[in-house]
Symmetry: C2
Subunit: 389 residues, 2 copies
DNA sequence: CTGTTAGCGCTTTCAC
DNA sequence: GTGAAAGCGCTAACAG
């Protein structure tokens, strides 16, 4: 019965004495049953056994199974997989053969547990997976992390502060190695302890509140200021700024850049041109149409994000040429419709987040590092028109 | 020294005898050191100790730590966290208090290992994180999975077959509970074994090759056919189809739908109107300009995906009204520029993938299930123009 | 309702 | 260069 012709997985079953109380005891008993039948030839498997076989699949081969088949100790097999060089070429080959035959895959769960209980995943908590900004950041992160053998786990808060706590909690329970976070809750002090416990936190797009964490942000203020300066240089003075919602950190910064640049050009009071929170239920399109209906309408509009830019296109049509406009954030087809924007490399931003995570893992101590990713003006026609005479 | 006033984490240190050979022995020794200093008051921590404390952070509290503080056994604490009701309210409160004080978080890694070595994550292997289609699918999946307490791990193949193997391998090593996959390799038979080992596979957007797996696809063929039928009903006969690359499953299907609908309208030979692989180095815009340069140019164009639609806008401008056109895939601002499309609910598709995963986890046996998500024509102007007389 | 014991699959320490 | 024993944090089985 314990003949050498039994399949490797069946051999593992013979080790039953060594693992008498596995939680999946039923599985194992069943496995032995079906394997025994199988050793009589496939035709001997009854219907019940076949159904059971499908319902309770065979176990994966473990390191011990490989060791047994290769005739070495578990530790030696382990050495082959943790990059140790202290294995003779001959032994190594035997082990690799055995592993191949058993389709062995090291269990990262077990390895992580043994290795200080920390997984190889980095959590990224973002607002919304349908927002192209967050997702391109995630793409950059993933590329950079995978080069270091780390994976990325994504969680969405749907811009709900309570969800931030829930998702972060799940990730911490999974023992992510680090946490990247687009903060939405009012307060991230609850993460201070985790940082102290060795889980670095890097915030993305917005700074953390009440938490000493690294951050990777855009240069929101300078980006908008540059756009407005280009317009004032062309002679524009009646420049509007459209953004919603106004309270978000990035939007506050962009508004500040707008005001700053207009003040430089001698325009002190911009309040008449600011549309910061859209009329409830009507949205940004209404704000923009309202601006154009003014007695003295603006000669240029700066939008605070890509949603506002889309609203502008919807409100005024794709190629309105009696008005100058520049949008924060690049977007698909902006080139095709000649929409000038304040752009930045979103994927690179994600890579930078990953690099901060890696650097922080290498050096958990030290003051928080804050990175501002640069923006640049992309002229495409809509932002280079002087005001009408 | 073992006074009750020592912090809980320091108490854990007193259990040193119980875990004498932890792999992080250095950490623990260090922890004891700093804790002892700390018990003399924070001011007594020397510079070296403080640096060391930061470099080698204290350990997380474990279930055993909580049990010790609450004066119960580990198993009882465990019962509180696995949803057992067999704990007296009083004990439960004591445990919860202790857990709170120690900031205890159950270690999902350990739990997963004990639970048959399967994690709570579902892997989704997609082509490219910057592609909005895949990402919206991921968004839908994530929403549905999180309702069942599962998380999602994302991996990108960058459309490289070798990467598919690598990413899938990583996920399997992490013992994902199931695998969703946009296949890119020629052959997925390597996953047959994993399925047999209890890891369900659901393919997305394209069927698997040589693997019995569930799939969630779009109704590509009918989607294109519907668009073409609407055009033939308006009188169009010279209808072009632009798509690249031609070999992809979805594109093959969409082409078939195009041909089918034109055949229904009496047009047998469509080869002159098909632009299936763009001129190398020049892209889809060149294909489209080439079509319009023909002696008898098409009166309508159907694009095979959103990239081709974008190329059409770039080649012909955003509001070309002497030509009818319809695109497969909806895209941002398509409404603003009056671009009619064959649309579908991408997020819902993702939810459906998640539901297939969950169903398959419940019932690993049974024949593969194939789902086709419906598409629908969204009229926005560009597709409802009759041909010029 | 609660505790004891053993072990998931792996890696660590230490001995050979 | 290799092996034996122990245990990471948690939970299943089985007592009491």
């Amino acid at each position: 019965m314990t003949s050498p012709h039994l399949s490797p997985l069946c051999r593992a079953v013979d080790g039953h004495v060594q693992r008498p109380r596995a939680p999946t005891g039923a599985h194992r008993a069943l496995k032995r049953f079906t394997c025994q039948l199988a050793s009589r030839g496939p035709g001997a498997i009854g219907v019940a056994a076949r159904v059971a076989l499908v319902h309770k699949p065979p176990q994966r081969a473990t390191l011990a199974d490989v060791a047994r088949l290769a005739g070495v100790s578990a530790k030696t097999v382990s050495r082959v997989y943790d990059g140790s060089t202290n294995v003779s070429p001959d032994t190594r080959r035997r082990i690799e053969d055995a592993a191949e035959r058993l389709h062995f895959r090291p269990n990262l769960l077990a390895r992580s547990l043994r290795h200080g209980g920390v997984s190889t995943a980095v959590g990224f908590v973002l607002g919304d997976l349908t927002n192209p900004f967050y997702v391109k950041v995630a793409a950059g992160m993933e590329r950079e992390l995978s080069r270091s053998g780390l994976t990325m786990v994504l969680g969405a808060t749907e811009d709900d502060p309570a969800e931030e706590h829930r998702v972060v909690g799940t990730f911490l329970a999974q023992r992510v190695r680090a946490l990247a976070l687009v903060p939405i809750a009012d307060d991230q002090s609850y993460l201070e302890r985790e940082r102290g416990l060795g889980t670095p936190v890097v915030t993305v797009d917005r700074p953390a509140r009440n938490l000493l964490a690294d951050s990777v942000l855009l240069d929101d203020r300078e980006g908008t200021a540059e756009a407005v300066r280009a317009l004032t240089r062309l002679g524009h003075r009646r420049i509007a700024f459209v953004c919603d919602p106004a309270h978000l950190y990035t939007h506050v910064e962009r508004l500040a850049g707008y005001r700053e640049a207009l003040r430089e050009a001698g325009v002190e009071d911009t309040s008449a041109w600011e549309r910061l929170d859209d009329p409830p239920g009507q949205g940004t399109e209404a704000s923009i149409l309202g601006l154009m209906d003014m007695a003295e309408p603006p000669t240029a509009i700066v939008t605070g994000n890509n949603k506002a830019s889309a609203a502008l296109v919807r409100a005024l049509g794709p190629m309105r040429d009696d008005l100058a406009y520049v949008g924060f954030d690049d977007f698909d087809l902006a080139d095709a419709i000649g929409f000038s924007v304040v752009a930045y490399d979103t994927v690179e931003l994600g890579r930078m987040v990953a690099r901060r995570v890696l650097a922080r893992l290498d050096d958990p101590a030290g003051a928080p590092v804050h990175v501002r990713m640069p923006t640049h003006l992309v002229p495409r026609g809509s932002g280079e028109r002087p005001p009408p005479k």
